[in-house]
Symmetry: C2
Subunit: 348 residues, 2 copies
């Protein structure tokens, strides 16, 4: 298994990207290709006490870097020698099994869609992170790749999310819920009402295990394994979780740091605090898979440290080994509506 790593993307690149990749080779038994400025990568290797390129580590030189200020829709074309474009072209050509980047989300999404392409019949790629829940996490699909969706997109997200939960997370018969503001089929906007009927059809046909609408609160508690949403609402859901977690973690920290007695209190529950931190740490999960693209692509968090990069590489390897993409391609006929039935706001 060979993972192509964008060495230059992210707030802590290239140092943490290189260190994370080295750790992945050592600990996970994968090979990596580090894509980026050769001299910078070699310098980072040296800083990690590595003089010669170790077995399982390659460098692919790319002298440009896509910056956050670049236009995400066109950056990969304007910077043909960027680590993003070079890395994704390698993926397309089969010179690696998956691609990991901590760079601009928008640029990665555009580049993956236009260079590597979507699976035939899939209308939109989706970003599908695993969010922490009361029952071990759920796949949230989509969390922002496509703000405006049609019911057909949501149907495809439901299938892809279900397959991801099954193949990559190892959940048998994942419970699929449609994110909504009430349990009844009549709730939400036209988008949710129409999508509900499509998902119900897929459920009745035994193709996914659709359990109905799920409210945001119950989704956090872990009532479903897959949370189906348009990208706008999914992003609100994800960022609200992150914000609330961060806000409460800060309050908690303040509570323990007040004085000597409260510091003693912190000592008494230090294992619990470690578990709590782990719950809130996006680095633990790794990154966000782009589902619907022909090859596995993982978006690591922009603020990824070496640990988060290593976990994103682990996730990329799991994605590549899962057979997920093949399964989506084989079942595409069940995820498409006849041309006349494709309603909704976004053009195809």
């Amino acid at each position: 298994m060979k993972i192509i790593v964008d060495a230059m993307g992210g707030d802590n690149a290239p140092a943490c990207n290189v260190k994370g990749a080295l750790d992945a080779v050592k600990e996970l038994g994968v090979e990596v290709v580090l894509v980026g400025r050769g001299e910078d990568i070699l310098k980072c290797l040296k800083e990690n006490g590595v003089a010669d390129l170790p077995a399982g580590v390659e460098i692919a030189h790319a002298d440009q870097v896509v910056e956050m200020c670049d236009n995400p829709a066109t950056a990969f074309k304007e910077k043909k020698n960027s680590s993003l474009t070079v890395g994704l072209n390698m993926l397309k050509e089969g010179r690696g099994d998956a691609f990991v980047s901590a760079g601009s989300t928008g640029a990665l999404l555009s580049a993956a869609t236009l260079l590597v392409k979507r699976i035939k019949g899939i209308r939109r790629a989706a970003m599908a992170p695993v969010v922490p829940t009361g029952k071990g996490g759920a796949v949230l699909i989509d969390c922002g790749a496509t703000a405006e969706c049609t019911p057909e997109y949501l149907l495809q997200f439901a299938f892809m999310g279900s397959y991801y939960a099954e193949h990559v997370l190892g959940r048998p018969e994942p419970r699929v819920g449609l994110l909504n503001i009430g349990a009844e089929p009549s709730k939400g906007t036209d988008l949710q009402r129409e999508a509900y009927q499509l998902l119900k059809g897929a459920g009745d046909a035994g193709r996914i295990h659709f359990v109905g609408n799920v409210e945001a609160r119950e989704a956090v508690y872990g009532e479903v394994d897959v949370i189906v949403s348009d990208g706008y609402s999914g992003n609100i859901f994800l960022k609200t979780m992150e914000g609330t977690g961060g806000f409460l973690a800060r309050e908690l920290k303040g509570m323990f740091k007040k004085n000597l007695v409260t510091k003693l209190g912190a000592l008494c529950v230090k294992d619990g605090i470690a578990h709590f931190k782990k719950l809130l740490d996006s680095g633990e999960v790794g990154g966000t898979p782009l589902v619907g693209i022909c090859k596995p692509v993982i978006k690591a968090h922009g603020s990824s440290d070496a640990f988060a990069i290593k976990n994103a590489i682990r996730q990329a390897a799991g994605f590549a080994a899962s057979g997920l993409i093949e399964d989506i391609a084989e079942n595409i006929e069940h995820m498409r509506l006849p041309a006349g039935d494709r309603s909704g706001a976004a053009a195809d």
Copy 2:
């Protein structure tokens, strides 16, 4: 100041509603009218050691109760003698200054809109709870009254939310943000893009202090005083906050209850834990105002205890005394678009 209280609505009615109303009369110096089954209310008064009706407490008999299983759109018509319908008619007739109910949200919203009516020119009433944030809370408007919105609705929500923050919460020059998935004006769906321009216009004219788009995470951190949203997304935001808070509170409880040492830890930070609980307790805030109706209406949480009912009555009194409704009515011309400019999904 006289507050009309639906004695029969909510999970803990009538006992907690009556107790909360009695406490409000004692502690807040308001008068209350308890609307509902006379004999049930008198029984609750007796249970609270009150034999004769105390000064400041009236009973208005209504022998029907709107249940959660009733059709919310028509319940107030089908049950003309319900505490909901009788109470709102009293409000309309000026026999009280505000109305508080912990019953069905949908039924309250329909009944308030159709019996008491909206402020002239306001297209949709909004539910505008104060959500806890890193900086003392923000008004979230709308959190679910209208799932599908037009840009004009959002413009009106922005004005009403800003006035609410100023008049009721006492925030001078409230910062108004549009809930979105990125800071740039191009982010989100057509609804957000069009609303952004309307809000910017109102900001440029100096009528509200519009600070631009606000992402969900920054909204939780307290970057704005008013979070403007369609009802669907606002509901996702609110319920995700509640879910994440509840989930983490449960984890925290588990952490402290593990063994004797962790229980000692809990003792060391007991003030902090009390503060933490207060942060997460919806009863602390009171209820959710229905903004845009001609008279003040407060929806108390369905699970309200006496403390929450008392706080909802406090909030209703503050709303009634604030001059908010008059201010909205006086400035209505700035919140309306010419007929030709009213685009969007929902019919007027």
